[in-house]
């Protein structure tokens, strides 16, 4: 999710940034020359050493200009770099192969020529008395023009964006596939150890009872009673398995109803603020429900809390959720299988989970899931 657009810069701010551009002209030139010279020197080893220092520096300069372009445009200018692996030589190789490094060089050429001229024009007009009115009106368009070109060169290209998306999707798909395979194994095991075994016992008891019907009616009756008890237990176990797959109350009442039902089952009082009109797509409802259930279960098990709360808010495009408690904190989002599993499940919907749990509390788990409402119908509370 991108943050909401901030306000565009006015003439004063734009001129401030133009001044910064002019002042940064010399550093840009120095870094450019250093990069070019070190690249040439890589034929002897010293160039490699130089590049190790210079490439991070060039990224720093480029990032600084990204921030300035973002300020002028009032829109984010994301950094396009691929992750750098540890180790000096592997890091260097990754940087050298990253198309963003080459775009940075291209950008430096622009910043030393046309870009510099645009920023200089703004500064000069501001300083001349006669050109002052001209400056007032021209500063913003000129700086916008420069920033748009800066952004065009410094932002990830379409191919890079798509590559990154494919990379993210491949990773989250692998996690989801692992997760659902593990879930299926768990369900299979639960069914095998529980209801299946019990139903076999029921049929055995009934068979024996059938056998004893004439000769020992009392024993037969006892066996039938036993079978009834066992079938009741098997039903109970089946209910637990089904709740773990898709809770009936979620199917009946949607997210708000199901979360209210969860809150009722909690020993710790839960304050609810649920604002989700209509129904969300079933897979999203299910992922969010199990996320809330996991967080509340953690609260009950570990937090020692006196109060907890659940907030769900849907604005037509993004569902924002928060589960918190006033317990002892110190929850580690990477430990156990609970929260990582939740994060993996949410990642399949481009959901982002964050955990704040300082020692001493409070613990707050929050996440955002972009999704479209599947029906305009409002659920009853």
């Amino acid at each position: 999710m991108q943050p909401a657009p901030t306000r565009r810069a006015g003439p004063l701010k734009a001129s401030g940034i133009a001044t910064a551009h002019v002042l940064l002209f010399t550093p840009v030139v120095v870094v450019f020359v250093l990069v070019v010279v070190s690249s040439v020197l890589t034929v002897v080893w010293v160039g490699v050493l130089l590049l190790l220092a210079v490439l991070p520096l060039s990224r720093l300069v480029a990032d600084l200009h990204r921030t300035m372009a973002a300020t002028v445009l009032g829109e984010p200018v994301p950094s396009p770099y691929l992750p750098v692996p540890p180790g000096p030589l592997r890091g260097l190789r990754a940087r050298a192969l990253d198309p963003a490094t080459w775009r940075d060089l291209l950008w430096m050429m622009w910043a030393m020529s046309g870009g510099f001229v645009l920023s200089l024009l703004v500064v000069v007009k501001m300083l001349g008395v006669i050109t002052l009115p001209l400056w007032w009106y021209a500063a913003v368009p000129l700086m916008r023009a420069r920033s748009l070109i800066d952004r065009a060169i410094l932002s990830p290209g379409r191919t890079e964006q798509l590559e990154r998306r494919v990379h993210d999707l491949t990773a989250s798909r692998a996690v989801v596939v692992d997760h659902s395979a593990a879930e299926l194994r768990r369900i299979e095991r639960d069914l095998h150890d529980g209801p299946q075994a019990r139903l076999a016992a029921v049929s055995l008891s009934l068979g024996l009872a059938d056998d004893l019907f004439e000769t020992d009616p009392d024993a037969a009756r006892r066996l039938i009673n036993e079978a009834r008890g066992t079938s009741s237990t098997a039903l109970g176990e089946l209910r637990d398995v089904v709740r773990g797959i898709h809770p009936p109350v979620l199917a009946d009442r949607g997210l708000t109803g199901a979360v209210s039902a969860l809150a009722l089952d909690m020993a710790v009082p839960v304050e609810l603020a649920l604002d989700v009109p209509g129904r969300l797509p079933a897979p999203v409802e299910s992922a969010v429900y199990f996320a809330v259930a996991e967080c509340l279960a953690n609260t009950a098990k570990h937090a020692g809390a006196g109060q907890s709360w659940v907030t769900l808010r849907y604005d037509g495009a993004v569902l924002r959720a928060e589960v918190g408690d006033d317990g002892r904190g110190g929850a580690d989002p990477r430990s156990g299988s609970g929260l990582p599993g939740v994060a993996a499940r949410l990642a399949a919907f481009d959901g982002i989970l964050s955990v704040s749990s300082p020692t001493g509390g409070p613990t707050v788990v929050s996440w955002e899931v972009p999704c479209a409402s599947s029906s305009p119908k409002t659920t009853r509370s």
């Binding site: 079938s231 039903l235 009936p248 109350v249 199917a251 009946d252």
Partner: protein
């Protein structure tokens, strides 16, 4: 007693009809969907209804909603709701639908025929019958409350009271005398600051209200 039965599963519907008729009830309608259930519930000669929660057309909670709706149209109409799952949320909604004459049980409780028939009689008589698993969940949930002041035995008595049992039933199930049960109940009322009452259904309601159910 004339019963309306709603259950979409043919096997269970036949089984329940057979069971009810064997126990002297008259099944005036055995339906498998919401539309027919609503029509059957409008029949003024029906005395009570046994309703499954999940039914066509949407297979969600239309049985429950129909039960609540009929109790709005016919206040105090006895309804026993059966379900594969019990939810505290649904139990609350049923209890809020009017004074007593309501029951909410897991379907497999039917296997204890005597118990089931007794529950239906109690609901038809204006009592409140909740599944033991709902009662257990409520008792588990309330921590740091006056319920902690109760002894183990008093908690057992309270749970059985919430299931809608009369003193005799409680005595039988705990294998004590009725006098002992009455003593426990007085002690519970005292500890929970509830005035003693002889009426079964008000007794349950008082307990549940106190539990902030």
């Amino acid at each position: 007693m004339r019963i309306v039965l709603a259950e979409d599963h043919a096997l269970l519907r036949a089984g329940l009809t057979q069971l009810l008729e064997a126990k002297g009830f008259e099944v005036v309608a055995a339906v498998d969907n919401l539309t027919e259930l609503e029509r059957a519930l409008d029949d003024p000669s029906a005395d009570a209804a046994v309703v499954d929660v999940r039914m066509p057309p949407t297979f969600t909670d239309e049985g429950l909603r129909a039960a609540i709706a009929v109790r709005a149209r016919r206040p105090g109409f006895p309804v026993l709701v059966l379900s594969q799952y019990v939810e505290q949320l649904y139990a609350r909604e049923l209890l809020a639908s009017g004074e007593g004459a309501v029951g909410y049980l897991l379907k497999d409780r039917v296997s204890d025929v005597a118990e089931f028939v007794d529950a239906l009689h109690r609901v038809a008589g204006g009592g409140t019958v909740l599944d033991p698993s709902v009662v257990a969940a409520v008792l588990d949930r309330r921590k740091d409350t006056p319920v902690d002041r109760l002894t183990e035995r008093e908690r057992e008595v309270l749970a059985l009271m919430a299931e809608g049992r009369a003193n005799a039933g409680i005595a039988q199930s705990l294998v004590v005398t009725e006098k002992a049960v009455a003593k426990h109940i007085n002690s519970i009322f005292a500890k929970l600051d509830l005035p003693a009452d002889t009426d079964d259904h008000r007794r349950v309601r008082a307990v549940l209200e106190w539990l902030r159910f």
